[in-house]
């Protein structure tokens, strides 16, 4: 387990085995929502094969209907606490090593569905820190099917990240798309098998391109940070408590200490 600390410091991310039984549970919740949608006709021959259904989702749903369906699933999975509790359990041992066990967890778990050749589900090259997220945070990214090549996301290495981050923050000469195209060789698509999870720093430049594979990608992501670490760093943002994170595992001494301040502060 200690090696993931070194790997994370070296690479800015780690790909590690998750609890497959729990990931399967998350997938079943999503599948049960999909099954209730009367517009989606699932053939009897594949009705029990969730992997096949998710991978071939583009054959069941049109691109134009995708976003409203995604929102519907997103709202339903976030309407009960059980989904996020399972999500946390999947990553807990690794979060203990990388972040700590008294945490802030992003309130909403995001769902991405990326169909082959869909131009509307793209997240160009970016770093989450640019949207005001805390550098003390990690992103936990869980694919619900195998993610590989353009069906996955791309990420860079710290040595290139330093150079490109500096360029990106100081240029008026090119767009993020041009920056990606110019530096393609410095990025690699992460191959993450179903059952594995990815944890990465918000400082790392990443994104996706048009999915040129023949399969649809379903993935979930959620952010975690140490509870007592700063939310707003260098800039003011809305990505703090109470807007963005919910406190998780507040320890007695944190309550006692802050309540002491609360009682005697001006």
């Amino acid at each position: 387990m200690k090696s993931i600390q070194k790997d994370f410091e070296k690479n800015g991310y780690v790909i590690i085995p998750g609890n497959k039984i729990l990931i399967e549970k998350l997938r079943k919740v999503i599948f049960s929502i999909i099954k209730k949608n009367k517009k989606i006709k699932i053939g009897k021959d594949i009705s029990e094969n969730i992997t096949k259904i998710l991978n071939n989702f583009h054959r069941l749903v049109k691109v134009k209907d995708l976003n409203s369906l995604r929102f519907n699933i997103y709202n339903q999975i976030n309407s009960k606490s059980t989904f996020s509790e399972i999500f946390y359990k999947i990553a807990k041992d690794y979060l203990d090593e990388l972040v700590g066990n008294e945490l802030s967890m992003q309130k909403k778990i995001n769902l991405s569905i990326q169909m082959p050749n869909d131009k509307d589900s793209l997240l160009d090259l970016h770093s989450d820190i640019y949207a005001g997220e805390s550098p003390f945070q990690v992103v936990v990214w869980i694919p619900l099917v195998d993610a590989y090549d353009t069906k996955s996301m791309f990420c860079t290495e710290p040595k290139y990240n330093k150079i490109m981050n500096r360029q990106l923050l100081n240029t008026d000469k090119f767009t993020t798309k041009e920056m990606y195209n110019k530096n393609k060789k410095n990025f690699k698509f992460l191959n993450i098998k179903f059952g594995d999870i990815l944890i990465f720093s918000p400082l790392m430049l990443h994104g996706n391109t048009i999915n040129k594979t023949k399969e649809t990608r379903f993935s979930l992501n959620c952010r975690f940070k140490s509870l007592l670490s700063p939310c707003d760093v260098l800039v003011k943002s809305h990505r703090n408590i109470p807007n963005f994170y919910r406190p998780l595992n507040i320890k007695p001494l944190t309550k006692i200490g802050f309540n002491y301040i609360k009682k005697y502060q001006d």
């Binding site: 800015g12 400082l203 707003d232 507040i250 309550k255 309540n259």
Partner: protein, 151 residues
């Protein structure tokens, strides 16, 4: 018959950000109609210059005939613990409920008070202030880790 809910606007900074009253109203109206299935009744604004939260006290009093009060966050409750304590008592006696949209919390009974007070911890400067530089102690610790950086 649908229940009526009052909005409560407070223009003090929430996590350092002042939400304009129009935006507070939009969020509260949506919450009352979509989450509570009720009627959005009125949303008076707190008197910023007043020593005590007179508007909030008016909303929880018998004079205001609503089932509950909606506001953006627990961080908009009075700063003073004593004032909050007295406010909680009056609210429970009035049998009104209170909803805090961004925090995803509600005050419906005595047990909820602890949850709300635990959450208000995060309204302290430690969590709300923007971290702009390291202090000398942090600088000292970080000396040995200066190579661990992605930017």
């Amino acid at each position: 018959m649908k229940k009526k809910f009052a909005g409560y606007i407070n223009l003090k900074p929430l996590n350092g950000v002042i939400y304009p009253s129009s935006n507070q109203n939009i969020l509260m109206k949506g919450f009352v109609e979509n989450n509570l299935g009720g009627i959005f009744y009125l949303s008076p604004t707190e008197v910023l210059q007043a020593k005590y939260s007179i508007t909030l006290n008016t909303l929880i009093s018998k004079e205001t005939k609503v089932s509950g009060i909606v506001m953006l966050s627990t961080f908009l409750l009075p700063n003073s613990f004593k004032e909050r304590e007295s406010f909680y008592k009056k609210l429970l006696v009035s049998k009104k409920k209170m909803y805090f949209i961004l925090d995803e919390l509600a005050l419906k009974n005595k047990e909820d008070i602890e949850k709300i007070e635990d959450f208000i911890i995060f309204n302290s400067k430690h969590f709300v202030n923007t971290k702009k530089k390291l202090n000398s102690y942090e600088n000292l610790i970080m000396k040995q880790y200066k190579d661990i950086s992605f930017v």
